[in-house]
């Protein structure tokens, strides 16, 4: 029956000359310069069960996720003509074309006999008049316990986003950050975690000690961060599930600026001793560390390339803070400025550059730039080419990448005296948004996609 419907619809479209060549299938190009958001219709999911509120909330989260990308324009439900959508029935494309919708998501929420819930959806290409297959399937059906409903919603939004943009997913993720409360001269800083859309905010440390710069492990199960516990600034490992905190290493000096290696087996860190900061890598299994830089200048904020072979870091060896790259094995590189050196400077613009974070795709380094009384978040090629500033404010600091390398999260103080807030911006520089937090917030770090 369905096949007949499809055939009929196709025939109709062909006859009326409305069908687009199949090559013109709905596809969002996220890198185009003059971008117009693609119209999407996501009616509230149908419900078989009693919890209508949950069905509605799931649809709301899917819409909110997709809309937060700036790539899609959610169609107003009051414009919808077809009211009798069903998950297993092809929609009347003409009803959706007339309201200029390119994509239509039809979803269904079910309560299962075992107490779990299941959510199904199909993504329709309205102009091509066909379902958009996801991993070869004509749709997806996900089940979970009711308390986990948000993850289902994020996974559905991820599927749709990935199918339409070709980009890897990033909604089903978490963000760890520092929650800040109290007056400026007696700030309380706590480790906090939330879903990528700001839901489920939780505090992980009680705020007795100042904690700073949390970062996720590639498994999303652990966080490494710096704490003043016991009056000593040192780096720790925090297990999210158990809440267990563990001191990392046995360094005589202050340790700070931790960040996991890409394989999660090591932590890059900075140790300061007798006024000199250098970068180390510590194997988490053997707890042995190796020194990567040995220079009288400040070397800090290491971040590893996805292939694990290089690091980017901040150094003031040239007289001001700038970004350098080096090979983890210490072998010399050919530098952008010519010549070979163990560490190559890649930033040469006016001002100071710091907080480099290597993108998950490997081609870019995100940074904080400070010049002329302003702060900027920007990106630069790892060869020092193609610097682009994405944001500007009184203070913008501390970028980190979404796991798909499309979005950058950072924190901002809009004006002098304002508390910090979390922000995100698309790699294109479009779609700057505030991420909602219950308190002032700084030092955000994005988790990998959850398993």
């Amino acid at each position: 029956m369905k096949r007949i419907l499809t055939a009929l619809a196709t025939a109709f479209l062909l006859a009326t000359g409305l069908a687009l060549p199949s090559a013109a299938q709905l596809q969002v190009r996220v890198t185009e310069g003059n971008f117009t958001p693609v119209p999407l219709a996501i009616p509230d999911f149908q419900i078989s069960g009693t919890d209508a509120a949950m069905a509605k909330q799931i649809s709301d989260v899917v819409r909110a996720d997709l809309s937060s990308t700036g790539l899609f324009e959610m169609q107003n439900p009051s414009s919808f003509i077809q009211k009798d959508l069903a998950i297993d029935v092809q929609p009347r494309f003409a009803d959706w074309k007339i309201i200029n919708t390119d994509g239509l998501v039809v979803g269904a929420y079910e309560e299962l006999p075992d107490g779990k819930i299941a959510v199904s959806f199909r993504l329709w290409d309205v102009y091509a008049g066909e379902v958009m297959r996801i991993n070869g399937q004509p749709g997806r059906r996900l089940t979970t316990t009711p308390d986990n409903w948000r993850r289902i919603a994020h996974k559905i939004a991820d599927s749709i986003y990935t199918r339409l943009t070709g980009e890897d997913p990033y909604f089903d993720t978490r963000i760890v950050y520092i929650a800040e409360t109290g007056p400026k001269l007696a700030r309380v800083k706590r480790l906090a975690i939330m879903d990528s859309d700001g839901a489920n905010q939780q505090y992980l440390t009680p705020g007795r000690n100042t904690v700073l710069t949390p970062r996720f492990s590639p498994s999303a199960q652990e966080i490494t961060y710096m704490s003043y516990e016991g009056g000593k600034p040192r780096i720790y490992l925090f297990n999210i599930e158990t809440g267990r905190q563990e001191l990392l290493g046995n360094f005589p000096g202050m340790t700070f600026a931790p960040r996991f290696s890409r394989d999660g087996e090591s932590v890059l860190l900075t140790q300061a001793q007798r006024g000199n900061s250098d970068i180390y890598i510590m194997n988490l299994r053997t707890r042995e560390s190796r020194r990567l830089t040995d220079h009288p200048a400040i070397d800090t904020s290491p971040s590893m390339s996805p292939d694990g072979k290089s690091i980017a870091f901040t150094s003031d060896r040239g007289g001001s803070p700038q970004i350098y790259v080096m090979n983890v094995d210490g072998s010399p590189r050919t530098c952008p400025s010519g010549g070979r050196d163990s560490a190559c400077r890649i930033t040469f613009g006016r001002g100071n550059y710091s907080t480099p974070v290597w993108s998950p795709r490997g081609d870019l380094v995100a940074f904080t730039k400070q010049a002329g009384g302003k702060f900027y978040i920007g990106v630069i090629g790892t060869d020092g080419k193609g610097e682009r500033l994405l944001t500007e404010a009184y203070l913008d600091e501390g970028p980190d990448w979404s796991p798909n390398g499309r979005v950058i999260v950072y924190f901002r103080e809009s004006r002098p005296g304002d508390g910090p807030q979390l922000m995100s911006v698309d790699l294109s520089g479009r779609n700057e948004r505030r991420l909602p937090t219950q308190t002032d917030a700084s030092d955000p770090a994005w988790s990998p996609i959850l398993q």
């Binding site: 202050m254 300061a272 904020s301 901040t314 803070p321 710091s354």
Partner: protein
């Protein structure tokens, strides 16, 4: 009764001054008017209060002595960890004081203003603290008496977001952790 009369008179003067002044007048202190003395009249004896002699300053060797007479902070220029002549003077006084009180241990904290990124400032603060420590050692203070810590931009002492506050927040802070009697 007499005192309340006096206060009323004072209030009247204040009010009239206020009325004469050409500048903004709403700032008249009206509280004296409300001070109507309701306590029972004159008969109660007045207790004698002893007035201590004027203090000559903090007790020698106290935390207050160090803070007031020696100086606990040196201040740095922007992005700098250099000690200028004023800073060196303060550190010489600190070293002299420390040699007078050999049981004292100190923690030198390096602090930065908010106009830098967090991790770089942690490194810079450590360098600032270390420069103070090295200078004190050069003046004969035993290194084992000095610990250092960096707070980066986490411990401002001036809440403003202006040049003056930033200048105050770029400091090396010598804190006495033990060995004094107060």
């Amino acid at each position: 009764m007499k005192s309340s009369l006096k206060l009323t008179a004072a209030a009247a003067v204040l009010l009239s001054l206020g009325a004469c002044a050409s500048k903004p007048k709403p700032v008249v202190d009206t509280t004296p008017v409300e001070v109507v003395d309701t306590t029972p009249t004159v008969t109660e004896p007045v207790e004698t209060e002893t007035v201590a002699p004027v203090a000559t300053g903090p007790a020698a060797g106290s935390l207050e002595d160090f803070r007031v007479n020696v100086g606990e902070r040196v201040y740095y220029d922007l992005d700098s960890y250099r000690l200028d002549a004023d800073d060196q003077e303060i550190l010489k006084r600190q070293a002299a004081w420390l040699s007078s009180y050999p049981g004292v241990r100190i923690l030198v904290a390096g602090n930065c203003d908010e106009r830098g990124t967090r991790e770089y400032n942690l490194a810079l603060g450590e360098r600032r603290a270390s420069v103070v420590k090295d200078y004190l050692i050069s003046l004969g203070v035993d290194p084992s008496r000095i610990d250092t810590i960096s707070y980066g931009k986490e411990r401002p002492i001036a809440a403003g977001s202006d040049e003056q506050s930033w200048a105050l927040n770029r400091n090396g802070f010598t804190q006495i952790v033990s060995g004094t009697n107060s």
